[in-house]
């Protein structure tokens, strides 16, 4: 790795049968990211279960409960690196009841690898995974047509699957899609090209992961700076220091820039951009910094600094898509908490308009809301939020819903 190694987060989606765990195992193995002791442990287990070859999918089975049941029950994170990039894989289970886990892992991903079995083509679950990827706004999509060895590496079959998939994805407004034919079991077109897919001219999966352009995955134009913490050292050395600490969620800021503090609306100018490593002239998303302003205005956690050229919405009512995560269904008569950027406010669901069937994309009106449901809702909050449309800005368009009685996180929301 060098001083210019970037970080890419991606997830894989597909059922156990699609060879998802094998694909991850193969990526780790062929990029030499599996350790000997891990390999030894899974070799032993494979042998115990009477398997002929080492089952690479065992690498991603984390917990005792899962190993006993032979299924993945939660999101696990894996790490590997090449000289160009460090990768974080969010490994999610393919079982239907775990939609919430895919949404969870997808929320931080730059890219999703959607697996299909070349013999079976685009299935209901492929559509479901693609819909969820579009809902959560994953910037880059890879359709991995796996098990090409089982269809004699037929180009026509690959083209047929891709055409069907791209037509479906276009309906969802998805365009950054790369289709790759591969065999995770044999290793073709993951790290090495193999010699059976010479008709395919595109990148291997690893080449794509290493080269996909991610600088614009965050919004680089609309400055958004939620204040996390106010630093007032009140020491002799820093007796009048007031620094507003936070992370730039979108855009950039320079010394001298005029900023507006929302929801209040007061304006000021950036006096200094302070970091431990020295002051900066300009800072960019997603840097964590400290800002000092030229004016003394009352600012606290939950306020957001923006610039006048593209203003967010400030409102107490908004609409959103919700993914319900809790085993306890939504109760419209109860108040919940919304945590959005660094603000937390009481909220009410004023209406639940429809539920999306993630398999058919049909809308059902007046639904009840249970775990794994995706619904469109209208929400009222006790104090105003400062937000953007989720599709324009992930960081200022997302929120979680917390049940005050249990303190559990019960829903994920995307403002529409």
């Amino acid at each position: 790795m060098s001083d210019t190694t970037q970080l890419l987060r991606f997830i894989t989606a597909g059922s156990v049968d699609d060879g998802k765990s094998t694909l991850i195992g193969r990526l780790l193995h062929d990029s030499k990211s599996i350790f000997e002791d891990q390999f030894l442990a899974i070799s032993k287990t494979s042998e115990k279960r009477g398997m002929a070859a080492v089952d690479l999918s065992l690498l991603t089975d984390g917990l005792q409960a899962e190993r006993e049941q032979g299924i993945t029950i939660d999101v696990a994170y894996r790490y590997f690196a090449t000289p160009r990039r460090k990768f974080i894989i969010g490994d999610t289970p393919g079982h239907e009841q775990y939609t919430r886990n895919m949404v969870t892992a997808a929320s931080t991903a730059n890219l999703v690898v959607i697996l299909v079995d070349a013999r079976r083509g685009v299935l209901v679950q492929t559509r479901r995974h693609t819909y969820l990827a579009s809902l959560v706004g994953i910037p880059h999509i890879v359709l991995a047509v796996n098990k090409m060895d089982m269809v004699d590496y037929a180009e026509a079959r690959f083209n047929e699957i891709c055409a069907e998939y791209l037509a479906f994805a276009a309906q969802l407004g998805l365009h950054d899609i790369t289709c790759i034919p591969l065999s995770a079991l044999v290793g073709d077109m993951l790290v090495d090209r193999g010699d059976k897919l010479n008709w395919y001219q595109g990148p291997t999966l690893m080449e794509l992961l290493e080269n996909v352009e991610i600088d614009h995955d965050v919004n680089t134009t609309d400055f958004r700076y939620p204040v996390q913490w106010v630093c007032r050292p009140q020491t002799d050395e820093h007796h009048d220091f007031r620094g507003f600490m936070g992370r730039i969620e979108a855009g950039e800021v320079s010394v001298g820039d005029e900023i507006t503090v929302l929801p209040g609306g007061r304006t000021s100018k950036v006096k200094e951009i302070v970091t431990y490593d020295g002051n900066l002239q300009t800072a960019y998303a997603p840097q964590s910094i400290t800002l000092r302003l030229t004016d003394e205005i009352d600012i606290s956690r939950g306020d957001m600094f923006v610039k006048a050229d593209y203003l967010p919405t400030v409102a107490k009512e908004f609409e959103a898509m919700l993914c319900w995560l809790s085993e306890t269904p939504l109760d419209k008569n109860r108040k919940y908490l919304v945590k959005h950027t660094t603000r937390t406010a009481k909220c009410l669901f004023s209406s639940i308009d429809y539920r999306v069937d993630v398999n058919t994309l049909e809308q059902h009106v007046n639904p009840t809301v249970s775990m794994n449901d995706i619904v469109h809702a209208s929400i009222k909050v006790q104090s105003p939020l400062v937000f953007d449309h989720y599709n324009r800005n992930r960081a200022s368009g997302s929120f979680i819903v917390i049940d005050e009685a249990t303190n559990n996180t019960v829903a994920a929301g995307m403002i529409s």
């Binding site: 790795m1 001083d3 210019t4 190694t5 970037q6 970080l7 350790f35 000997e36 002791d37 891990q38 442990a41 089975d61 984390g62 917990l63 409960a65 190993r67 939660d74 999101v75 994170y77 790490y79 690196a81 990039r85 460090k86 974080i88 919430r100 886990n101 949404v103 969870t104 929320s107 680089t220 996390q228 913490w229 630093c231 050292p233 020491t235 820093h238 220091f241 620094g243 600490m245 936070g246 992370r247 302070v274 431990y276 490593d277 960019y284 997603p286 964590s288 956690r301 995560l325 945590k339 959005h340 950027t341 660094t342 960081a395 997302s398 979680i400 917390i402 303190n407 559990n408 996180t409």
Partner: protein, 301 residues
């Protein structure tokens, strides 16, 4: 981003700072667990980056097994003093004196008992959040743990009942008596840690670098000879060039054979190493495939 390259270390650093600031802002009485080991030294630098020129809005806490490497304790005390931050040390000996820890075999590692003293310390000071330097790449159970990991009043982790964690919006809420463990460097790997130590020029205890040491071979491990570990009949003491990849209880932390005597050499060695950090060096995690999971369920961090 013109002329600005945001590297993986920049991304990890910014994420960790963001997490620490969320803890400071939302938790009533947080603490940062600090042992003097390399990961917790990285945590201190991240805390400086998060909060300077302010003081840390939390104390440093060390749960001391008293099975220590002296260099590590010296580093712990010096760093806390240099930073001018408050260091709270609570020892397993205190729990033993109170009778809440009963040592069955004095020769065995004390790591399993750390949970008891940690929970007592949490209760004594009323901490509602403890930040620790654990990483997801260390072990299978950790790979599935949230960054904000909720614990019940017995300090237990329930892997099947974790709060979903989306985007970087963290749910920090707990009821009275409950607490959360927070892992700001969850997404760092061993290699990232060493690259960061190099980039930030951090001072770490000398035992992380290659040195000559008297060791005994037991099974696949080399074990350092100390006051607590003496050769059994038939065992031979050898002098090897070794370094430690992790530092814990002196009776169960094994070094690896190495000649890497500076950060660059360690980075080169780490980038090509074929054994996991815990697999190579922690005998307490080799006992069974699920050792860490079981310890965490009991309240270990």
């Amino acid at each position: 981003m013109s002329n600005h390259i945001f590297t993986h270390l920049d991304a990890l650093e910014s994420e960790s700072i963001h997490i620490m600031r969320e803890v400071a802002a939302e938790c009533k009485n947080p603490a940062l667990l600090f042992s003097g080991g390399k990961d917790s030294i990285v945590m201190l630098r991240l805390a400086e980056k998060a909060f300077r020129p302010c003081k840390f809005p939390f104390p440093l806490v060390h749960i001391d097994t008293e099975h220590n490497f002296p260099e590590v304790i010296q580093t712990r005390d010096k760093l806390a003093a240099d930073l001018g931050e408050r260091l709270i040390v609570r020892s397993l000996e205190g729990s033993i004196a109170k009778g809440t820890i009963v040592i069955k075999n004095p020769d065995l590692p004390r790591n399993p008992y750390q949970s008891v003293t940690l929970l007592e310390t949490i209760e004594e000071f009323g901490f509602d959040a403890c930040m620790g330097g654990a990483r997801r790449d260390e072990e299978k159970a950790r790979a599935k743990e949230r960054i904000f990991s909720f614990r019940d009043e017995f300090g237990q982790w329930d892997p099947k009942n974790q709060r979903p964690e989306l985007w970087d919006i963290y749910n920090t809420r707990v009821h009275q008596g409950e607490n959360i463990r927070v892992f700001p460097i969850s997404n760092w790997t061993e290699l990232d840690i060493w690259q960061y130590i190099g980039r930030e020029n951090l001072h770490i205890p000398s035992i992380y670098y290659a040195h000559e040491r008297e060791v005994i071979r037991r099974g696949d491990s080399v074990i350092p000879v100390s006051d607590l570990v003496q050769p059994k009949p038939g065992e031979k003491v050898e002098v090897l060039s070794v370094r430690f990849r992790t530092v814990g209880d002196v009776t169960c932390t094994a070094p690896v054979e190495s000649t890497a005597s500076n950060v660059d050499e360690i980075i080169a060695e780490t980038a090509t190493t074929r054994i996991t950090e815990r697999g190579a060096t922690r005998m307490d995690d080799q006992t069974s495939d699920a050792s860490m999971e079981l310890r965490k369920k009991e309240g270990y961090f």
